[in-house]
Amino acid sequence: MEELKIALKVNDLDNVATIFANDVTDGTVVEMRDKKGNREQITVKGDVPYGHKIAVADIHIGEQITKYGEEIGIATKEIVKGEYVHVHNLDSMRGRGDWETEKEAETV
């Protein structure tokens, strides 16, 4: 039997799940689990390292990406279910950045 590849979704509101398996590549089928243990098979799009995320629903550009039931960023591209989600298609929503950004914000 092939080793179980888990994608964990910790909050019902989340539209991403985190992969806890090695060798997850484009086309790998992973099993998404929620906190109650409900499961769903999802086909991964892209090569996803251990501890990285996939979308568990289609996410449109500009939409909120949710993990832990809270927003962790905005989709900067169209994201389809199963697709690798990381800094290439997710942008932080935090206005408050480092000192330089803050200074710029203050002068506006």
Binding site: L4, I6, L8, V10, T18, F20, E31, R33, K35, K36, G37, P49, Y50, G51, H52, K53, K67, Y68, G69, E70, E71, I72, G73, V85, H86, V87, L90, D91, S92, M93, R94, R96, G97, D98, W99
Partner: protein
């Protein structure tokens, strides 16, 4: 009703342990306190590094933290070890602890004629105190009388998804049962403070959350460091964290989802507060564990991924490990394996219920692995100003 069995104190609090606390009023009294502790079974001591040559606000902070520590319901009696010329207010410590109704004694090393005489006198007193309290019986207590502290340390990719989620589950459950839950690590809030503020019960509490984050960042800036710059770090990004919010939430998730009732200062002791509270602490173990024991927490749930083994002398620490490999590798130090969530063998709720059952047993007296091996002497009090 969920019942546990603890030691009822004169001030109404209930302890999960029944130690005599040997409290050095200043770091210069550590060796005497330690010698007494080694001689007398049933005692614990707190070898900190503060209490003299500090600015007045820090000296008050140390005095107040030691008073709060002495009030811990896990201490049935207290012996204060004073040098005599320290900057902390040892007379205030004695008076305030005496007012709680628990037996309190104090010795002064200089007045007694030096170290060996103080050790002798202190050992006699500590022995008497242990004899006095050691026969106390555990009595039924309600779960609402529980104060749980929480923390994560030695984190890795698994912490935010397994062990912290388990503690979040337990935190929600305890809050719903009317208990008190305290979390801290203000440094971890950076980037997620707006999400915490949203959970505040009112505007004042929300402002307090922003305030403690701002104060902490301002202190870092005063020595030229920007704590936000470059977050998440390249290492975090390689590990899968995509934004500062995600990084912060991974730590915050251990507080559960319930409303935040307020912010406690570092030295504060919980009296009537119920529900979920923040204590303004750093993340480093020696300081946060002291701060959490000073709240009066009867135990701590501690999440780890890489395997952080630290504990605290009077506060049992339950280690919940998110990494299944670390758990196997450090079985003698880790109490619960939340890594089974990531292997698909268990759910967050299942491990959450196991953690809840474990904490009830620990409240009733079952030792944590950390207690059994007595890995808890490294501690300190979190101060803000320079040492003179």
């Amino acid at each position: 009703m969920t019942t546990w069995y603890g030691y009822r104190r004169p001030d109404g609090s209930v302890g999960s342990r029944n130690y005599v606390g040997i409290i050095p009023a200043v770091t210069c009294a550590n060796d005497v306190a330690n010698a007494i502790c080694r001689e007398v079974q049933g005692t614990v001591t707190f070898l900190h590094h503060q209490g003299c040559c500090q600015l007045p606000p820090d000296l008050d902070r140390v005095t107040e933290t030691l008073i709060s520590l002495g009030k811990s319901p896990n201490l049935g009696a207290v012996l204060i070890v004073s040098l005599g010329c320290e900057g902390t207010d040892h007379a205030r410590m004695y008076e305030e602890l005496k007012a709680t109704g628990k037996p309190v004694e104090i010795i002064h090393i200089q007045e007694l004629g030096g170290v060996s005489k103080a050790v002798r006198e202190g050992t006699d007193i500590a022995r008497r105190l242990v004899m006095q309290i050691s026969g106390q019986l555990r009595e039924p207590a309600d779960i609402s009388e529980v104060i749980m502290s929480i923390k994560c340390g030695g984190s890795d990719t698994t912490s935010g998804m397994a062990s912290n989620c388990v503690i979040g589950y337990v935190a929600d459950k305890l809050v719903d049962l009317g208990a008190t839950v305290i979390f801290g690590e203000t440094t971890e809030f950076i980037g997620g403070e707006h999400l915490l503020a949203r959970r505040a019960v009112n505007e004042d509490v929300a402002k307090d959350i922003y305030r403690i984050v701002d104060e902490m960042e301002t202190r870092a800036k005063s020595i030229g460091c920007d704590m936000r710059r470059g977050q998440p770090t390249p290492g975090n990004i390689a590990g899968g964290l995509s934004s500062i919010e995600e990084k912060s939430l991974g730590a915050i998730v251990k507080s559960g989802t319930r409303p935040i009732q307020g912010v406690l200062d570092y030295p504060e002791h919980v009296t009537t507060q119920k529900g979920l509270w923040i204590k303004d602490t750093p993340g480093r173990e020696p300081e946060i564990l002291t701060g959490m024991a000073a709240t009066g927490a009867q135990f701590m749930c501690f999440s780890t991924g890489r395997g952080a083994p630290q504990g605290f002398p009077c506060m049992p620490v339950i280690k919940i490990c998110g990494n299944p490999n670390t758990f196997e590798n450090m079985k003698d130090d880790m109490d619960l394996n939340a890594g089974l969530i990531l292997t698909g063998d268990k759910t967050i709720e299942e491990v959450g219920e196991e953690a809840f059952a474990k904490l009830l047993r620990v409240l009733n007296g079952e030792m944590t692995k950390n207690e059994a091996i007595q890995y808890f002497t490294s501690l300190d009090i979190f101060c803000l100003g320079p040492v003179i």
